[in-house]
């Protein structure tokens, strides 16, 4: 039954595809572009400093005819400096002692040089319909620092605009009328139709506001670091989001209620506002609540920490406030100050950023990070304070 449903889905996509492919013109030349990104990280923790460098090369390939686009990007990462880390070193002694001796091996990680295809997709479209197959970028939600609706990406709140890896699926976008569209996504996994991801999303523009409702069924995975591997269960997400303007301020929000097959249901939402002053000063504020996080920092355990770092849970605590202040110091230099504050345990992370467009196609980015919290808190100083210098040379 499940395989029959999967078959029908693919037949359906095939029919849509054939309609789109028929009017395809000759493919244009392959466009090759991308960037080279050397990065230097210096980290101070518990009286010691650590260095890690990385070089990243991203090569984008893109070819498009009148209504067919092929895209792929190849990423090559090289690591230098301190490449071997024990994750447990970043946690309090109490947490470290929770991990059985036999399990400690799993917490040793090594940054290995990698070469992989991040996005590989073909997109066929006419004026009303677009069909995308393959590993592709799927970005949902209106939040800047975090997106409760977006289970495909896990934003680093300290560096929220950094690109994310692609997600495999077959996607259909249908433009119903001006500012009204439907998105369907099928993301097949080994288990067949029942276990595969199925998404429906309707987006509507009303006045100066955009609204969207999202329904997504997929397999949710939570690793148990006390007794690997963990649990899998069906998760049904119902999401609502909006973005617009209220009293002259930008105003947005997104919320998701998650119906879980076996564990407790939970909700997550984010509200945000922003404003640009006459001087060019830009201020953004967001509040994020995640019921899956914990309200008391004394209750954080190794599962909470690692699920957060692996992206299985969006936050470690329940309530967070994000703030960003940005100012164009010159036409080429932009100054930013990002801050994350855990309402539950009072800890915070402060990230000053300098963005400098040093040459026509070269960006220089300097980021600091300071964690203010005490032992065991969400943003505790044991996580290490330091800075990142990142250059990006585009070609």
């Amino acid at each position: 039954m499940r395989s029959a449903a999967s078959f029908l889905i693919f037949v359906g996509f095939g029919i849509v595809l054939s309609f789109l492919i028929i009017p395809v013109a000759n493919a244009e030349e392959l466009d090759i572009f991308g960037y080279f990104e050397p990065q230097f990280i210096l980290l101070y923790r518990e009286g010691q400093s650590y260095q890690m460098n990385s070089d990243k090369l991203r090569v984008d390939l893109q070819s498009s005819a009148s209504n067919v686009e092929f895209g792929a990007d190849l990423i090559y990462n090289l690591y230098y400096g301190k490449k071997n880390w024990n994750i447990l070193d970043f946690f309090s002694e109490e947490i470290r002692n929770e991990v059985p001796e036999a399990m400690q091996y799993y917490f040793l990680v090594e940054f290995k040089d990698t070469l992989y295809l991040d996005n590989v997709y073909v997109r066929m479209s006419n004026s009303k319909i677009a069909c995308t197959f393959g590993k592709q970028q799927i970005s949902l939600g209106t939040g800047y620092f975090s997106n409760p609706i977006d289970v495909f990406n896990f934003k680093d709140a300290l560096d929220p605009t950094y690109e994310q890896t692609g997600y495999n699926g077959a996607r259909l976008d249908i433009m119903l009328r001006d500012r009204t569209s439907v998105m369907l996504l099928y993301s097949p996994i080994e288990g067949g139709w029942k276990d595969s991801g199925k998404l429906f999303r309707l987006k509507v523009g009303l006045g100066h506001f955009d609204f969207a409702v999202t329904g997504y069924e997929f397999q949710d995975h939570l690793t148990d670091f006390y007794s690997l591997p963990g649990t899998r269960e069906r998760r049904r997400l119902a999401g609502l989001e909006f973005v617009g303007e209220l009293f002259g301020l930008g105003f947005w929000g997104e919320g998701a209620y998650n119906f879980m097959e076996t564990s407790d249901d939970f909700y997550e939402f984010l509200l945000g506002t922003d404003y640009t002053f006459e001087s060019g000063l830009y201020v953004l504020l967001e509040y994020h609540r995640n019921e899956r996080g914990k309200a008391r920092y004394e209750d954080y355990n190794i599962n909470d920490w690692l699920r957060f770092y692996l992206g299985e849970n969006k936050t470690i605590c329940q309530d967070q406030i994000y703030a960003m202040v940005s100012y164009p110091f010159t036409d080429l230099i932009n100054l930013q100050l990002l801050s994350i504050f855990s309402v539950d345990d009072g800890s915070a992370a402060v990230v000053p950023v300098i963005d400098y467009n040093i040459f026509e196609n070269v960006d220089l980015n300097i980021m600091g990070n300071v964690f203010t919290g005490g032992e065991g808190k969400a943003y505790n100083s044991r996580l290490g304070n330091g800075f990142i210098i990142r250059a990006r040379v585009y070609f």
Binding site: S125, S127, Q136, Q137, T161, H208, L332
Partner: protein, 292 residues
């Protein structure tokens, strides 16, 4: 002055002030009453003098609103497709050049900009609807679309001296400002109407007032001075338009230079390609159109 005398001579009343041709017909009737040669010679000279006066009177009657309306229509043809080059020069003398495709429809009410160069902004797209009251930006690396609020109209486009408001709002001269005709003045070697546009109370534009010099023949602005929102005496930016060419029967300034008087920076924009003879689909000005 002379017309007033004609009115008194004819005793026709004040309503003629709004109908210049009536002065002439009334005066001709008066002169032709007798029919001798002297009267006919006199009539000839009067006609010559009057025709000049009437032409002058007709031109004076054009209102500031009419000039702004005509100028806005000239600047915003029904549709356009262009490849534009924008070069900014910083106060330190560094240059940054951007090339983008620009589409507009419904006399500029809808517009879309897609960056072609440099690599760091390649395929980034900006969609502006309702005369830039609604702005969306699309980032190709993350395939994320972000809606900007109205206040973001003040933000600089790619650090240039043009704001979204400067680029995307096609009807701002009509909707956001009250205009007054200050007179005629020569500017950059051309005879121009000089107008002052004061910000309307309910408008959210980022300038207190503008002074605009509109070329009399083509109804194209040659210079626009933008004054600071908080300090109306302070000249913030000056836009100079030049290289007037007729493209698809529409007079078009091919080059625009914005001088930022406060930051001492300059941004120039020019057309690499331009056509008004296009039929752009509405679907281009949608989220799907941004991603294409």
């Amino acid at each position: 002055m002379l017309l007033e005398k004609f009115i008194k001579y004819d005793g026709l009343g004040e309503d003629l002030t709004t109908k210049p041709f009536n002065y002439l017909t009334a005066f001709v009737r008066k002169l032709y009453g007798g029919g001798n040669m002297l009267r006919k010679v006199l009539l000839f000279f009067v006609l010559v003098v009057c025709s000049g006066l009437i032409a002058e009177e007709t031109e004076e009657k054009i209102t500031a609103e009419e000039i702004i309306m005509t100028m806005t229509e000239t600047l915003n043809p029904e549709q356009s497709e262009a490849v534009m080059e924008m070069t900014m020069i910083t106060s330190g003398g560094q240059e940054r050049t951007f090339v983008y495709k620009a589409y507009s429809k419904n006399k500029g009410e809808k517009s879309l900009m897609k960056y072609l160069e440099p690599g760091r902004v390649k395929n980034q797209t900006v969609l502006m609807l309702n005369n830039a009251d609604d702005i969306w930006t699309y980032f190709p690396k993350t395939k994320r679309v972000r809606k900007l609020a109205t206040h973001a109209k003040r933000q600089k486009v790619q650090g240039s001296d043009f704001s979204y408001e400067d680029l995307g709002s096609s009807n701002e001269f009509i909707d956001d400002y009250n205009s007054v005709l200050l007179g005629e003045e020569e500017k950059n070697g051309k005879l121009c109407y000089k107008l002052e546009l004061a910000k309307k109370e309910d408008s959210d534009v980022g300038y207190s007032h503008l002074v605009v010099w509109v070329e009399k023949d083509a109804y194209v602005p040659l210079v626009i001075d933008y004054y600071h929102e908080k300090d109306p005496e302070l000249l913030e930016k000056e836009l100079v338009l030049s290289d007037l060419k007729v493209i698809d029967n529409i007079p078009t300034p091919m080059k625009m230079v914005m001088y930022n008087k406060l930051d001492n920076t300059t941004t120039s924009m020019g057309f690499r390609e331009l056509t008004y003879d296009v039929n752009l689909p509405d679907d281009l000005f949608t989220e799907m159109g941004m991603k294409k």
